[in-house]
């Protein structure tokens, strides 16, 4: 394999699956239910 192909593959793997891992970790920081605006009267989730 050429060096430039290896570099592009590493970059693609770092950004895309890396983005998946980062966004999954970020997802864990979801707000608590108390942090949301109050639900209107008579409206449930």
């Amino acid at each position: 394999m050429g060096v430039s192909a290896i570099i592009m593959m590493v970059v693609a793997l770092a950004i895309i699956p890396g983005g998946l891992i980062a966004s999954t970790i970020f997802l864990a920081r979801r707000p608590e239910l108390d942090g949301y605006p109050a639900l209107p009267d008579g409206v449930s989730d």
Partner: protein
């Protein structure tokens, strides 16, 4: 900016819901990851600059894919409805756009099921490699029995009709069970199974002789390609078609989320999961293809070039003509074939469910039907049309034509109209950005509004105009103008006419009878 607030009225209607965030995410991934991830992305990347294609691909993901995905989520969640109901709640006349998206899903659903039927057959064939040495002849002759058919209505092909009917029966049963018990549970089983099956396939492919030549071919950058507009168009088109955006699917799925739900962060997970699967598919498919050129002792580019013996590396040709050849040659080919066609089946079936859910959701909202009734009313006629149109000797050209026009004209048209309507005509982009940011940990603001309102319509508008001009100048794939006009343009025109007609039908429940959440803080949105 003026922001109109939908009238607050009675308590919200009962609406089906996902069991939670995981159920939504796994179903949305199931929708996004489909046939295109496996059979389209690797070939498109290879033909458009190889490794250098990753640059426009990532730009397209960030500037159009993710922003429109967020727009779909915001529309479905804020206005709590399938496309017709969500758009009706924004403006009376906008309902037709929702029905147009539903009709696009009708056309896609009827041919998509046929491809799944082929994949199911080939899954079975792979155990004894029934296709033999002449894989092209087997597909067109023994299996599809095309006999040179060039489209239209022809005799039914029993080998296709059987699995096609089974696909429809299974889909109708799952749709009838509803969002949580049907769609979500199926995805919760199918997506992990897909990742495991395809993961095994990719690992096996990476250890085949010559695999590195395929990876080299896929990632070797041709930076000169970045100066070609066609490469950028290909990147935007790949992202756009791959993510299941702008034709109602993500909008419908987000409408089943709880009111207090994080929207943007799951969207990022779905978008990156979809692209990760594409990269994985690229590695697996190109490693396997390179095994063949390696065995033949011919360089990859030459073997899969215009005059090479390798065959096509995209779409139906890749899956049902080229890949069976690879399976013939490799050790453990039967298992490899079962994993490949099983993966196609799982990826495609979960996407089919999402397509059907848009139609089912539209019917449930409009006519106040149960999921079971909607599944039967939509499923049975669609199954019949699917069999008549695509279970015949002319199934391949019919399918290819409807696929081309509904995707590249219908969906792109839907996307352009949607972003222009929401951002420029109705000017709801600020309200939707506020909705997303109020509920989500990943905030969006003017950059998102700029990407959705300016970059996306420009990129997609260019793709649409270019496609329409191409389709009018020369017959697509050499098919007859009769087939292209009837099945191709016909599917788009029928979608428009049906969309307008559906707007004339009375709603069984007052569509404005809902309470938006969060209540709009007009001062904050100004």
């Amino acid at each position: 900016m003026s922001v109109s607030i939908p009238p607050e009225a009675a308590p919200a209607q009962d609406r089906q819901q996902w069991s939670g965030q995981y159920g939504f995410i796994i179903s949305a991934i199931g929708s996004a990851v489909g046939l295109g991830n496996i059979w389209r992305f690797p070939g498109v990347a290879y033909e458009n600059g190889g490794g250098a294609f990753m640059i426009p691909y990532l730009v397209a993901l960030v500037t159009a894919g993710i922003p429109i995905l967020f727009l779909d989520y915001a529309l479905g969640h804020r206005f709590r409805g399938s496309p017709p109901l969500a758009f009706r709640r924004i403006a009376r006349w906008a309902e037709s756009l929702g029905w147009f998206q539903v009709m696009i899903c009708v056309f896609i659903g009827i041919y998509y099921a046929a491809i799944l039927a082929w994949a199911a057959s080939y899954f079975y064939f792979s155990f004894n490699r029934k296709w033999g040495d002449d894989t092209v002849g087997f597909l067109l002759g023994e299996y599809l029995k095309t006999d040179g058919a060039t489209g239209g209505f022809q005799a039914l092909v029993g080998g296709v009709v059987g699995p096609l009917a089974a696909i429809w029966v299974l889909a109708i049963i799952i749709m009838a069970l509803g969002v949580k018990k049907g769609v979500e549970r199926t995805n919760a089983i199918a997506i992990p199974a897909l990742v495991v099956a395809f993961g095994i396939l990719v690992v096996r492919a990476l250890f085949l002789p010559g695999a590195s030549e395929g990876i080299n071919a896929l990632f070797q950058p041709d930076f000169a390609a970045l100066s070609k507009p066609t490469v950028w168009v290909a990147a935007y088109a790949q992202i756009f078609f791959s993510l299941s955006i702008a034709f109602g699917i993500m909008l419908t799925y987000s409408s089943y989320r709880k009111r207090r739900s994080n929207l943007t962060s799951p969207g990022l997970v779905v978008a990156f999961a979809n692209s990760s699967f594409e990269i994985m598919a690229g590695l697996g498919v190109f490693s396997a293809l390179a095994f063949m050129s390696h065995e033949a002792g011919v360089p990859f580019a030459e073997y899969y070039g215009p005059d090479g013996a390798g065959g096509t590396i995209k779409g139906v040709g890749l899956s049902f003509m080229t890949f069976p050849k690879v399976i013939n040659e490799m050790p453990g080919g039967a298992l490899f074939g079962a994993l490949f066609f099983g993966s196609l089946l799982l990826a495609g079936f979960t996407s089919l469910l999402s397509i059907l859910q848009v139609i089912s959701g539209g019917l449930q909202d409009k006519f106040d039907w149960s999921p079971a009734k909607a599944a039967l009313v939509l499923g049975v006629p669609m199954a019949i049309v699917s069999v008549i149109g695509f279970g015949t000797k002319a199934g391949l050209p019919n399918l290819d034509t409807v696929d081309k026009y509904t995707n590249e004209v219908g969906i792109v048209f839907s996307a352009v109209v949607m972003v222009v309507l929401v951002c420029w005509v109705l000017r709801r982009d600020k309200e939707l950005a506020w909705h997303l940011s109020t509920l989500s940990t990943f905030k969006v603001g003017w950059i998102w509004r700029c990407l959705v309102g300016v970059v996306s319509p420009l990129a997609l508008g260019y793709i649409l105009v270019r496609t329409v001009i191409d389709l009018m100048q020369q017959p697509y794939s050499g098919y007859s103008w009769t087939l292209l006009n009837v099945a191709g343009w016909g599917s788009v025109i029928i979608s428009i006419v049906a969309a307008l007609a559906f707007c004339l039908v009375k709603w069984r429940r007052d569509p404005l009878d809902f309470t938006p959440y969060p209540a709009l803080d007009v001062e904050e949105v100004k």
